[in-house]
Point group: C2
Chain length 493, copies 2
């Protein structure tokens, strides 16, 4: 298998996706239907995502806490829209300690209900607000069709839950966290998401408004990468989350919740990887630099390994996540192939001539436009003096990080079709997976449902101003009525 070519993205995107994950050893299916095992290479990406996000949450005033995995079934059913959305996906515990339970317990599909029931105990007065908590947790949703990272029965995520004195504060919080997600996705994931609002039919079960981050995958389907909800007073009312206001009256608190999950790893893969395998943005790469020593004779081995170990120590001391590939049983070519499949941003080759010349060769996983271009049909090879490494390696990692974002933005723009006014044209564009299709929408659920039924595309997002067209369409692409919004249509994961 290791020598076989990957399936091509253009030929079988789905097979390609699965094989990229398998070769990079990111995750695999477990004996439990729909649940995955996240292997160290995949979990390493998640750990780096967690570190970056956790810092961003704390910098915006949030603290971590932990609430129970199990929720009484009666809690879930309290909020009407919430139970309607989640009831079909519940995993239910009916036995514990050898006995049938009096009340079944649900494995959390999300934690609004249990968390706001606790907030109700903690809050008496406006002085107890805001509450700004986040939890890192696993959740279970009984999905029928599962795909590694994108949709699994159990997944890992963070869920932020906040309570506020006023509607405005809650709205500001929901928007703030949308901004945090956006910054994380651009700066760390190099995934250029569109941001904006979900329509009522696509919003979170129980929310007033759902803000979303939507990414365009290489097969031109959209992936919802993370959401931030203004929950209004919906949960406060059913869980009696009340407080005495500054004016002395008893008021319901205003809540928000926001979450991102291991699904983002799927989005990362489908945004950057290529027909050679995984590509990881340097900021989220568990290994940023792989050093491959090249030698034939024993004498060469001694000199080359000495140099390789020196470079390894130098890089490690400089805070680079580096591996020295000293596996004896593999040829250099097989190692190149292996690191390529694993998406390591930079590969460094050190051979006997390099030692003599006091240089190394660095091959970036993705071609860098700011470096000398490669010979036609070859990979980009950068010859770097040993003395320059301490400045060049961080610089190349930064360039690769920016390059991935640039490439992804260029691809998104090339696959964004604006100003579509004919329904037939839109249907054809959707049919051939053209990408993000911008069109006018009158705001009616009927027009939205018609498109979904006939084309399988949905409104992914009502984009914020930044992403709107210069001249937004005047009419609804479906009914021709006055457009209330410019929206983005696409098929999605």
């Amino acid at each position: 298998m290791a020598d076989e070519k990957l399936p091509k993205r253009s030929e079988d995107f789905s097979a390609w996706y699965n094989e990229v994950i398998a070769r990079a050893q990111l995750a695999e299916h477990s004996p439990v239907r729909g649940c995955m095992v996240i292997r160290p290479n995949g979990y390493g990406i998640w750990e780096l995502m967690q570190q970056a996000l956790d810092k961003m949450f704390k910098d915006t005033g949030h603290e971590n806490a932990y609430f129970p995995l199990l929720i009484p079934l009666s809690f879930i059913t309290k909020e009407a829209a919430h139970v309607e959305g989640f009831a079909p996906e519940l995993a239910i515990v009916t036995k514990g300690g050898g006995k049938d339970l009096e009340e079944p317990l649900v494995i959390r599909p999300t934690s609004e209900t249990i968390i706001y029931s606790m907030y109700a105990k903690w809050v008496q007065s406006y002085r107890d607000l805001p509450i700004l908590l986040n939890q890192w947790a696993n959740v279970v949703r009984w999905e029928m069709r599962t795909r590694l990272f994108l949709r699994t029965m159990e997944f890992l995520w963070q869920e932020g839950h906040t309570a506020h004195e006023t509607e405005q504060e809650a709205e500001e919080e929901a928007i703030r966290m949308l901004g945090v997600y956006r910054a994380f996705m651009y700066e760390y994931c190099a995934v250029p998401v569109l941001i904006g609002l979900k329509t009522d039919s696509e919003k979170f079960a129980g929310a007033l408004r759902t803000y979303t981050t939507e990414a365009l995958m290489q097969d031109n389907k959209a992936l919802q990468n993370g959401t931030s909800h203004n929950l209004g007073q919906n949960f406060a009312k059913v869980f009696d989350l009340q407080f005495q206001s500054r004016a002395g009256t008893l008021e319901y608190a205003w809540n928000t919740s926001w979450g991102v999950s291991t699904r983002m790893i799927g989005g990362l893969i489908m945004t950057h990887s290529d027909d050679d395998g995984l590509v990881t943005p340097p900021k989220l790469a568990p290994v940023q630099l792989a050093i491959v020593p090249i030698y034939k004779t024993d004498a060469e081995k001694i000199t080359v390994m000495e140099a390789a170990e020196e470079v390894f120590r130098e890089m490690k001391a400089a805070g680079i996540r580096v591996k020295l590939d000293d596996r004896d049983s593999m040829s250099p070519g097989a190692k190149f192939f292996d690191w390529e499949s694993k998406g390591v941003p930079l590969r460094m080759e050190i051979g006997p001539k390099d030692v003599t010349n006091n240089t190394v060769v660095i091959v970036p996983r993705v071609e860098l436009s700011k470096e000398e271009p490669p010979k036609p049909g070859r990979k980009q090879k950068l010859f770097v003096g040993r003395m320059e490494l301490l400045s060049r390696v961080p610089q190349l990692l930064e360039r690769l990080q920016s390059q991935l974002l640039e490439n992804a933005i260029a691809r998104r723009e090339a696959n964004s079709i604006r100003g579509v006014t004919s329904y037939d044209e839109m249907a054809k564009l959707i049919e051939r997976d053209a990408g993000f299709i911008y069109a006018g929408w009158c705001g009616s659920a009927e027009c939205e449902a018609k498109v979904k039924e006939e084309t399988k595309a949905t409104i992914r997002v009502i984009p914020v101003e930044e992403f709107r067209s210069e001249k937004p369409p005047a009419g609804c692409v479906v009914c021709g009525g006055a457009a209330r919004h410019e929206v983005v249509w696409s098929k999605s994961y």
Copy 2:
């Protein structure tokens, strides 16, 4: 409540424990029986524990991964001793997605079975070994009598799972991780555990040998703080975890597993806290230093706050976890009380005179023997010049960390009774909760069971040499036969 005294440890240890947790806002009971909510102050301790342990695991060559929460019931029943131990504690999912499941799923009480079933797929040859993985996860064990942190239906933990080529390597790994736990408990928790072996009747369900870390709480009961198991080939045999050996034969791998949990937070509380509330070792304190500004007039407030903010910034820049308590609604006295209850290692007072003199007052949460003693009946107050803060604060935190360990060792030693040879004497010592009782044991399960039945004490540990008496007893304290081991008896949590 905030003004009321805590229950005294000596009068009602259990009520004291609960109230310490409540006042420090570490955790509380949830609406789900036996499950707790870990509040930010408690979760902050867990995060610091995780950071320190995670680094220690990685430094010893381990990587993190994640395995499913749900395990097919049939997996659990494969290993005879394992199922016997865990069957009574299982939470069982029988419905999912609105349907009855064909095979019930168990919420992991521990993950040996699902993990070794995956290792069996990953391992073909000795070249694929060792596998050295850890996961941070939640587990559920259906406990009837629960206590916050000490015994909860759901708890957070890490579980390491390794597979090795030889019995010796597995044994070395089990011992290595015991050493990691020991180092963590001494250096971070300041909890001076005894280490050694569990007896067969107390070992992990499915293990060959269980190594343990046993701490002595202030009520003289033992707390098992973490365990490391040599699993032999027990799980490898039932999950076909086989590999081709160097000699070309097909062999079963050798496994270890090891875990510590949020239970350690309970151990921390019951080791260090006092009748004024929580005491936290500086290395695990989410807030290490609380600055309380003291002023009466508005003019004083301006000068004092300016100085307090300057000190705050200085301390923060120096990497101290510091809070400036600028709450307007509370008196300084109430703030002192609050920080004391929360176990913050150092409290700093800055008043108008301090600003004039360019000094501050520091009150350590626990009296430091290396600093000037307090006036009789008063708290230790240290007068520190502003210019010295950058060196004095880290020094005081280190001294407090060492002081807590010293105090705990002294208490453990004062409550260790060695050379007990009469059964009646031992029974009386156990009756009055005398502490760790060292006595001889012939090695028979009958003698062990008799003591447990008659006194409720168990053999906590067969200690390693370091903790054994200079002259170990010659006879079994129960039957008088030849002693095979010197063991430590105690009642326990």
